[in-house]
Amino acid sequence: MTTLPPPSAVKLGLVIDLDTCVGCHACVVACKGWNTQSDLGAPLSDQDPFGAAPTGTFLNRVHSYEVTPEKGPTQQVHFPKSCLHCEDAPCVTVCPTGASYKRAADGIVLVNEDACIGCGLCAWACPYGAREMDAAAGVMKKCTLCVDRIYNEALPEVDRTPACVRTCPAGARHFGDLGDPDSAVSQLVAERGGFDLMPELGMKPVNKYLPPRPRDVDQIDVLAPLLAPVGSDGKGLIAWLDRTLSKLPGARD
């Protein structure tokens, strides 16, 4: 049923700390690995994986952005992105077959692959690029929040968390109930000023992002004053070396 359920009390989701993420892509690999061996659906296929133009299906990807403040040095921010399990999920309501659905109990957005016709409309409706059509299976793939891990009593308790969260070496990914204001993830969001992506579109994403903490603006590094350029005054040993080496064959300007 593609009618959205009333907002659930439990809203399972991720909190991603942009201050802590080091951009190692371990979450991407863990996600690909778990969801390729999972019984939940078709494996995440690759096309031409060892050829000249490899492509493949991924449910989690890490972008990197450069942010230049008015004052102070430029920062690089690594930015993991997967399904945000929106409360007002347009990917669910556009689905013509009922394959896309949002669970009433915990708010997880899933695809029933047996009913998916592979029309791609749900991916059109998603502003975040969270859904990818699998070229081999012909069905839409998306983050399941590792629904086959988080409730899986066959796994040790420590592993009952999404594969991306379990593997993150920096502790930049947190999993929990964002519907409960007292949960650890909700407290983290409140404390750090967690925000929504593209709030103006009104999708009400459940996943939240924590902003990078403010950086020092006065100085790039305490060693910076000691690293002033040398040898540009045309005097001394360095300058002589520079001139002499420049005369050798193969020297650059």
Binding site: T2, V62, H63, V94, P96, C116, G118, Y128
Partner: protein, 289 residues
């Protein structure tokens, strides 16, 4: 957006087919016998051919019947139901016409069904919050006007065709003028997409992967956009510039054929632009539009 040939063919030809069926339902013209058969066959070839073309891009066409189940929320589902209901009623009406029976109430219902089908097709695109260019009243207005204009041309309703073609040309210009500004007006930028705008100017520094992927192929299609102006002019000339003077001069069999072929080629060109020029907000994450 990736301009998939199957979707361009589908929207163009099913639009024309349902446009012709609209006029036939109104009894404009009201042929009987084999002439009726020819008219309805033409409408059905285009409408059904278009619908079949649309299934070519599906990953699992064998499950297409499931697409009729989610009419409560899905415009694509509504479109499927409207199309099939209209074609069934239209088939009954066609049989009546071939045996010279009149069924004005059924005819009106068929015409209404045609309008509903084209409108639901347009709403599939209009509903997308992710594609600001499409999210505008001109999208359904233009789809409906083009369908009725093309239908009138095929049904040899010269006056109606003339008025509707002129209206469609104006709507197309309005859609371009407003559409070119809509992405900027939507307020969605890389700053809101990443939430990093508060800190400073955001630039996509490194993509998540070195190759291409489904998202880039489907949503960040930019090939041919640099020829957009030329294609807009070509589309306008073919879709409206050729048929309008021919209609005004009075159609012969030869000029009617030229007018119809030019119009179809023009609408195909305009539909290609409709997709190729549509920018999906997802592209922002890759620093693309």
């Amino acid at each position: 957006m990736h301009p998939a040939p199957s979707v361009i063919a589908f929207t163009t030809f099913s639009g024309l087919g349902f446009g012709l069926l609209f006029w036939l339902g109104l009894g404009q013209p009201a042929p009987t016998g084999w002439v009726a058969f020819a008219f309805f066959a033409l409408a059905y070839t285009m409408a059904v051919g278009g619908l079949l073309a649309s299934t070519f891009h599906l990953g699992h066409p064998e499950r297409a019947h499931l697409a009729l189940t989610q009419w409560r929320t899905s415009w694509l589902s509504r479109e499927g139901i409207a199309a099939i209901a209209t074609l069934l009623l239209g088939g009954l009406f066609a049989l009546l016409r071939m045996w010279s029976q009149s069924g004005p109430a059924l005819g009106w219902l068929v015409s209404l069904g045609c309008l509903a089908t084209v409108f639901t097709t347009a709403m599939i695109y209009t509903q997308m919050r992710t594609v600001p260019r499409w999210r505008h009243w001109t999208t359904p207005a233009l789809f409906l006007t083009l369908s009725l204009a093309g239908g009138a041309l095929l049904a040899n309703r010269s006056t109606a065709a003339l008025v509707l073609l002129a209206l469609a040309a104006v709507l197309q210009l309005v859609a371009w003028i407003t559409g070119d500004k809509q992405f900027a007006q939507s307020g969605t930028t890389l700053a809101t997409a990443t939430g990093l705008g508060e800190i400073g100017r955001v630039r996509a520094f490194m993509p998540p992967h070195t190759g291409s992927n489904y998202l880039l192929k489907e949503f960040a299609y930019a090939v041919g956009r640099r020829h957009a102006l030329q294609l807009r002019v070509i589309g306008l000339i073919l879709a409206f510039g050729v048929p309008i003077p021919l209609l005004a001069a009075g159609l012969t069999h030869m000029t009617a054929l030229i007018a119809v072929l030019a119009h179809i080629a023009g609408v195909l060109c305009l539909r290609w632009l409709f997709f190729a020029q549509a920018e999906h907000v997802m592209g922002l994450y890759y620093g693309k539009r």
